[in-house]
Point group: C2
Chain length 198, copies 2
DNA sequence: TCTCAAGCGGAACGTTCACTCCGCTTGAGA
DNA sequence: TCTCAAGCGGAGTGAACGTTCCGCTTGAGA
């Protein structure tokens, strides 16, 4: 499921690969807490290593963030796969809540999620599966006819805003947001005053 | 409506106050285009002045951003006032679309909107009026009974995410987002799987 | 056990960027 | 018109931060 960024010329020494794992986890926590403007020194310190070690594994701070993005997108893709086994056209709803949970645990790198150049094919695969989930929901009458994949994008983007603004005070705010979006996209909801996006 | 940051010990010279106006407008445009990480030099250049002039009017870059925030909050408050004259319990919906438009024109400073320390009383007044709009909508059966002011916050926050992610390609994405949120909060929408926030 | 490629820490470096300083300019009151 | 407080531009300053470098350490294969 996880594709490593590291070329596989040679396996890492045991301590080195453990440090790599720690660095990624530390980056996830530090960026979630202080945003991506947190310094690399804090990430290294939280991982219990020096900055030199960080830079031995990741050529730039950007590459470290890209690894976080890749990990999150992997999770999203896996959620999409699992959602496609949900019966009754409810896969999309399950998917959106799963994505919300994944976003909440990785709120530090959300700003990079949808314009990262190194994960285009991964994102493409996610979109394909999203389209399938959307079709399934529509066929079962669980979502309005004019809903498009752009509305799923909107839900993702709105999640980012809610997660970055609500902070640690309201850890469940994103759930309510997803629930409102889902309710607004049901066929039973009133007609939308704004047309679907291209 | 607009409260100046400048102490009124002495009126500004005509050219100086014109430059001040230009600086604010330039900051709005530059930050909307490149985000708040854009340099002060670019703001000054766009305004047609040097950085020294910028710093004569605003003690720090932060103070300049705070001025943008204040301006936007002033707009929001004015929208809330106008919305309270809308009949039939539809003031809240009007308000949300107005706020969306104001956010769209000021997307550069949205990250600061809700944790700026210098505008607490202004925000408090907005919240009071939001509560009134919410009550009115509820009395007219235009919004679900369990909706709270926290749901209005969610709509604001989601707007930020949509505006920062959709960029200039999809200038109307925020309208669709507001429409979905409104539809999800109608009494006719299905019951929400997630309870209202505290 | 021995060897050494690989790994490590953290001081030092270079760049970026917010902010200051100062000599020149100018609007406006007398 | 004259004066000068106020305003102006932009080179210069200092701090923060991403990145590099190098001498020391260590896991693992022989």
């Amino acid at each position: 499921m996880t594709t490593s960024t590291e070329p596989e010329h040679r396996a890492l020494r045991r301590d080195a690969s453990e440090n790599r794992r720690r660095l990624i986890e530390a980056a996830r926590l530090v960026f979630a807490e202080h945003g991506m403007e947190a310094g690399v020194e804090e990430v290294a310190h939280r991982a219990g290593v020096g900055v030199g070690t960080l830079y031995r594994r990741f050529p730039t701070k950007d590459a470290l963030i890209a690894e976080l993005v890749r990990t999150l997108l992997d999770e999203v893709l896996e959620s999409a796969r699992q959602a496609s086994t949900v019966p009754g056209g409810d896969g999309l709803e399950h998917f959106l809540f799963d994505v919300g949970a994944a976003h909440a645990a990785n709120r530090g790198c959300l700003a990079r999620l949808w314009n990262d150049e190194t994960t285009t094919t991964l994102r493409q695969e996610i979109r394909t599966r999203m389209a399938t989930l959307l079709d399934d929901a529509r066929r079962h009458g669980r979502i309005r006819d004019d809903a498009t994949i752009a509305d799923v994008d909107l839900t993702f983007w709105s999640l980012r805003g809610v997660l970055e603004a609500s902070g640690h005070d309201l850890p469940d705010a994103w759930r309510r947001q997803v629930a409102i979006s889902v309710a607004g996209l049901r066929p039973s909801a009133e007609a939308l005053s704004q047309p679907a996006l291209a």
